[in-house]
């Protein structure tokens, strides 16, 4: 309990800029279930009311049947009693009513609990679905700016805090407030002066809670920085443990970690000083409150039984003691929930931020389906960039005829990837046009466009599913035979059939279990199955052994034949065979032509080429010799 409390107090409370707008957004989601919520709210009022009535009935039992005072002026619900038998039946009736209230309250709480969770969880599901649908619409630009982990954490952490508050947190807040209000109301209804005396510690409780929570929150914020350092250190040292050992750095690292770890411990222990004080303080205050109620009540009762003009009875004292005992619970709950509520609002803000992000590539209203692509591609004075005023491409002009292969070379950051991102419209031009078969890519639907463009990326991404389904990814309707056909074309069939489960082999996360080369062959098969007219290839040369690389090359050559292709080139063979070679630098095409014509120019390409292959030429001489 205390730990949970510490956690809650520790939540970063971000000062919400527009709490109201966030709340109204949340209300939009609540709206659909407003009747459920309204019924639940009504039930809360009744069940809380029942809780408050019981101490009053106990007081009645005392005054009317257990320790009746003649002429006490107490009006009894089930009539006054004089004989023992009457007292017994009266007591029985009262307790019967108490049992009825308990049972009724329980039933109402059950129903209320269920209704609220139905509304809360459904609402949460709706938000999740909306956020997911939205991420699917966002352009790739969004994902270059935001890391996967960041987007993930909105789904997990932020939605989790929201969930806590949406369903039960909110109920507890309402219940807590209602409970306090009803107790105070019941006290005043019974005896105004006594109520005032009984409530003297309540402001103290609020003040103590507020002060301690604030101190704890501040201390926990410090502590959280330390745990961040601990986690960063852990993550780094575990992930790179091989290098640590290779350089014999174990002891230094252990010592360093010990220091960070100790700082974290100390910060947390400091923070605990405040959060550990909260519950005991409130408890002590509530006992003191009981002492006041019992003492003052007793003092008056020993005399004329009149406190500032109104009579006090033993039953009233019993009732008030019972109330005083129950004060501290809702106060404490409210303090925790308040912190939780604030962090939930901050969380929902981050969720709505994502929902409001308009970095999207949308179909035009009048967008048509892209007719079967022939493969002519034209870039007309294309400018593009991911951030305003920072163009990556600066006026690209390019004409590619169908079936041609275009190789793009250039230093990192020159804009190679941006060029190929424009074709399937992962990104839109800021100026100029990209035309396929004379049609601006922005005038057709994205789906019809992308289904006709194949993409083989450097880092092959596979889903944790069967090999069959992974190849089928772009064309879910393809038959098993077609999949095998495509795998054969991609030269992947051989290694797949050698696996114990063949095509039904389930791949681990991101295709673990397969070598880099095998994964690339699967990616090629996946594209081959789509049979696209335009192919985009981010050539990967790394971490594949020579023989596999050769297989990949053969597979790619087959795939490329007869299709328009754009290749970010690393391999010499690709560069040499390309119909057009683009040398890109700082977002501009600085050289353009064939391998031979560019070599003849003796420009940038010539230098690049010579640098890299001088050594090969040298070794070639060795061979000749």
């Amino acid at each position: 309990m205390f730990d949970r409390q510490a956690q809650l107090l520790g939540v970063e409370v971000r000062q919400a800029r527009s709490v109201r707008s966030t709340l109204s957004r949340l209300w939009q989601y609540y709206r659909e279930y407003r009747w459920l919520v309204a019924v639940a709210f009504l039930l809360i009022v009744f069940s809380t009311g029942a809780q408050v009535v019981v101490p009053v009935l106990t007081g009645q039992a005392v005054d009317c049947y257990l320790a009746p005072v003649e002429g006490g002026g107490v009006s009894c619900l089930f009539g006054e009693a004089t004989t023992t038998a009457e007292r017994l039946t009266g007591l029985g009736k009262l307790i019967g009513l108490v049992v009825f209230l308990y049972v009724g309250g329980t039933v109402m709480t059950s129903v209320q609990f269920y209704l609220i969770s139905v509304a809360g969880f459904r609402m949460l599901r709706n938000i999740r679905a909306d956020v997911f649908a939205h991420t699917q619409r966002l352009s790739l630009g969004y994902f270059t700016e935001h890391e996967t982990g960041d987007v993930m954490s909105r789904f997990t952490n932020d939605l989790d805090t929201l969930q806590q508050i949406i369903s039960f947190g909110l109920v507890q807040v309402i219940q807590g407030i209602l409970f306090l209000v009803m107790i105070v109301g019941a006290m005043f209804a019974n005896h105004v002066p006594f109520a005032i005396i009984s409530l003297v510690t309540l402001p103290l409780m609020f003040l103590a809670t507020q002060w301690l929570s604030r101190q704890a929150r501040r201390a926990f914020r410090e502590a959280r920085k330390e745990i961040g350092a601990v986690n960063a250190d852990l993550q780094e040292s575990i992930a790179a443990v091989r290098e640590v050992q290779a350089f014999s750095r174990e002891e230094e690292n252990i010592e360093q970690f010990g220091a960070v770890n100790a700082a974290n411990r100390d910060a947390n222990v400091r923070a605990q000083a405040y959060s550990s004080a909260l519950a005991p303080t409130l408890e002590a205050l509530s006992y003191i409150n009981i002492a006041i109620v019992a003492g003052v009540g007793g003092y008056v009762m020993l005399r004329d039984g009149i406190l500032w003009g109104a009579p006090i009875s033993l039953g009233l004292i019993v009732t008030f003691i019972s109330f005083a005992q129950q004060f501290n619970r809702p106060v404490q709950q409210l303090a925790l929930l308040w912190a939780n509520l604030q962090s939930a609002i901050a969380g929902s803000e981050r969720i709505f931020d994502l929902l409001d992000d308009t970095m999207m590539i949308e179909d035009k209203a009048e967008a048509e389906v892209m007719p079967p692509i022939q493969g002519d591609v034209v870039f007309q004075k294309v400018w593009a960039g991911y951030k305003p005023n920072e163009p990556v491409l600066k006026g690209i002009d390019l004409a590619v005829e169908k079936g041609e292969m275009v190789a793009i070379v250039g230093p990192t950051g020159a804009g190679k990837t941006t060029i190929i991102n424009l074709l399937p419209r992962f990104w839109d031009v800021t100026d100029g046009q990209v035309l396929i078969d004379g049609i601006d890519v922005r005038d057709v639907t994205r789906d019809s466009l992308r289904q006709q463009i194949g993409l083989v990326l450097q880092d092959t991404f596979l889903f944790s599913d069967t090999i069959m389904n992974n190849i089928r990814y772009g064309r879910p309707a393809a038959t098993d035979e077609e999949v095998v056909e495509a795998a054969k074309l991609a030269r992947a069939d051989q290694f797949i059939t050698r696996l114990p489960q063949g095509y039904e082999t389930v791949l681990g996360e991101r295709g673990t279990g397969l070598s880099q080369g095998q994964r690339q062959l699967l990616a090629i098969a996946r594209v081959a199955l789509m049979d696209p007219r335009i192919l985009i290839l981010d050539e990967a040369t790394s971490s594949v052994d020579t023989r596999t690389e050769r297989q990949i090359q053969v597979a790619l050559d087959k795939l490329l034949a007869g299709r328009t292709s754009f290749v970010i080139a690393h391999r010499l063979s690709t560069i040499r065979n390309a119909d057009q070679l683009l040398v890109l630098k700082d977002g501009q095409i600085i050289e353009q032509g064939t391998h031979d014509s560019l070599l003849a120019e003796q420009g940038f390409y010539y230098d690049l080429y010579m640098n890299q292959f001088r050594r090969q030429e040298e070794s070639e001489k060795d061979v000749v010799r």
């Binding site: 599901r125 997911f132 994902f143 040292s237 230094e252 019992a294 399937p424 463009i453 944790s464």
Partner: protein, 604 residues
């Protein structure tokens, strides 16, 4: 994961109890804090138990004087004031001791978490490669963070709260028995009922919660994959399908959550109802006794307060039992790390390796990852003389990496010997061995800190001049000084992002600074542009000069210039020699060589 979950929840309570006991033994490392916490707990509970008794006294004072004609007002007032003062005293005592209990037990838990983390960290740092091959970073992270936190929660509050609950339960029950046996018997049947409901709760709720966890993790896996592979999703225009898939998973999750809600919305209020029925029973039967004259209103009130004390710890115990199961699973995972046997350790009589020349010999080396596993290397024999360059050639999985991992003793051979200057690597200290071996891996990890720190990673005491010299030789100096902060530029996760080529050059500088006699290179430049590749190649040539170098070769030039080429296939050396002899005598080498030539060489 599945295996882990099974084991975690599994019924092997003996193991669970054992690991929990073992984690509780950490308490003995802090005897003073532990004693203080327990003492605080005892005193706080005693103070708590005293309050209802005083309330009874007050009410009794009132009722006694209500029935008496002649009131001794002074005596009654005196009794009242004494009682009030006592409540205040006990309230303050309760507050202070409860604070001491909470604070010390939390401090205790943070100290134990500190110890656990330190122990895990040092163990992880020292465990050999074979351990890390089988355990992923993410899993180890979870143990060092979530599992430690869960165990901390249990030690910090669970264990002590359980003790507190037990004391409160036993204390209250005996007080009740002591004061009014008859009334106690009336409410006694409620205790087993409560326990049954809690038991039911445990049996029903645990699997339901686990179901929610599973559905949630399914949804998160889909999400994670989708986000990581968003480009593929978009390229294949499958957004709609992904949306449906995710929707299905969160609908399943919702369904499961509602099942849980249905159960809980029945169980939770029922528990309270049982407790409340106890109160009603006390009110009624106690009331009857009051009417009969055998009970006072004060005692009746006291009884009703004690009853709260009775149910509260039972609720707590139910909660702690659930916590215990989880903490036990966490403790087991933590101790699994701590108990992992390190298979590569210094012998007791290990000597320092000094004045290394760089002669490396493999003598009949066979290697298996597992004792009964398939041999990854089989009877490897070769000798590298000091200063030679050895190129390793072969397909993925042929054993190239394994060979180079045996030289710095990242693994131990299963059979045979690896000798450096005639010393078996198992006879020398790991530290002195590894300090003489420089390694440049294909994937370069930079650590948090400055560029300087990273270059000096293997020799933190190196001077700035030495660092700079190493950086120059690695062709890294120019780009480093082009940063505003130069060598003091922060890198790593929270620092400047360096390109792959830049990282690789820093790794080369790092190895150069060690001035090793033996060098191990994974000679592939991934995803760098052609210019950078050329620069890296030159830096590598500088690095290799005059040292015994083992190179996993990707480039023809490296192979051609090597003093010894090892051609590996399925864990065996199928051919070895120089380029010329191999080209002449070994068709397999000629084939590999030509296939690569076709791709990479300029046509003559």
């Amino acid at each position: 994961m599945a295996v882990r979950a099974e084991r975690g929840e599994g019924g092997d309570s003996q193991v669970e109890g054992g690991t929990l006991r073992r984690s509780l033994s950490y308490l003995t490392r802090y005897p003073r804090l532990t004693t203080t916490a327990v003492l605080g707990l005892l005193l706080a509970t005693a103070a708590q138990l005293a309050v209802p008794q005083i309330i009874q006294n007050i009410i009794d004072v009132i009722t006694n004087n209500m029935t008496v004609d002649q009131i001794d007002l002074a005596a009654a007032d005196q009794a009242l004031i004494t009682a009030m003062v006592m409540i205040v005293v006990f309230a303050v005592a309760r507050g202070i001791f409860a604070f001491i209990q909470t604070y010390t037990s939390q401090a205790l838990s943070h100290n134990i978490a500190f110890e656990l983390r330190n122990d895990i960290f040092s163990q992880i740092q020292r465990l050999s490669f074979s351990y890390h091959d089988q355990n992923q970073t993410g899993q180890l992270m979870v143990r060092a963070t979530d599992d430690v936190e869960r165990l901390r929660g249990f030690i910090g509050q669970g264990a002590l709260q359980a003790l507190q609950a037990l004391i409160l339960l036993v204390g209250t029950l005996s007080l009740l028995f002591f004061t009014n046996l008859k009334l106690t018997l009336y409410i006694l049947p409620i205790l087993p009922i409560t326990m049954v409901v809690f038991g039911l709760f445990g049996v029903k709720a645990q699997p339901l919660f686990r179901g929610v966890q599973m559905k949630l993790s399914t949804a998160n896996t889909i999400l994670q994959e989708n986000l990581a592979g968003i480009k593929v999703v978009k390229a294949f225009a499958s957004e709609a399908r992904e949306r449906a898939r995710f929707r299905q998973s969160i609908d399943d999750l919702l369904e499961q959550r509602l099942v849980v809600s249905r159960t809980l919305s029945f169980l939770f209020p029922t528990i309270f109802l049982v407790a409340n029925m106890g109160q009603a029973a006390v009110l009624y039967f106690g009331g009857r006794e009051i009417i009969g004259g055998t009970l006072t209103v004060g005692e009746w009130q006291k009884f009703s307060i004690y009853l709260v004390y009775l149910f509260f710890p039972m609720g707590q115990l139910g909660f702690i039992i659930g916590m215990m199961a989880q903490a036990g699973a966490s403790a087991e995972r933590i101790f699994e790390i701590m108990d992992a046997k390190n298979d590569v350790e210094d012998k007791p009589d290990a000597v320092e390796l000094v004045d290394v020349k760089g002669n490396v010999v493999f003598e009949g080396v066979t290697f298996r990852y597992f004792v009964s596993g398939e041999a990854v290397l089989q009877n490897i024999n070769f000798e590298a003389e000091a200063g030679q360059t050895i190129a390793l050639l072969g397909t993925t999985g042929s054993g190239k990496t394994t060979i180079i991992n045996l030289i710095p003793r990242f693994y131990d051979v299963s059979e045979g010997r690896v000798l450096i200057d005639g010393h078996d690597v198992r006879d020398v200290t790991l530290d002195s061995l590894r300090k003489r071996i420089g390694i440049v891996l294909q994937e370069t990890t930079l650590f948090g800190g400055t560029i300087r720190d990273n270059i000096a990673f293997g020799r933190p005491e190196a001077t700035m001049a030495e660092v700079e010299a190493a950086a120059r030789a690695a062709a890294a100096h120019d780009f480093i000084v082009s940063f505003p902060d130069g060598y003091e530029t922060a890198v790593g996760e929270r620092g400047t992002t360096l390109s792959g080529g830049q990282k690789q050059r820093i790794a080369i500088a790092r190895a150069l600074l060690l001035n090793p006699q033996i060098l191990i290179l994974d000679d592939s430049t991934s995803s760098v542009d052609l210019n950078t590749e050329y620069e890296i190649q030159q830096a590598l040539d500088t690095l290799m000069a005059g040292r015994t170098s083992f190179v996993i070769a990707q480039r023809i030039s490296t192979v051609v210039n090597a003093d010894l080429i090892l051609v590996l296939d399925q864990g065996q050396i199928v051919a070895q020699g120089t380029h010329e002899t191999l080209l002449e005598n070994e068709p397999i080498y000629a084939e590999i060589y030509h296939s690569q030539l076709d791709d990479d060489m300029v046509a003559a």
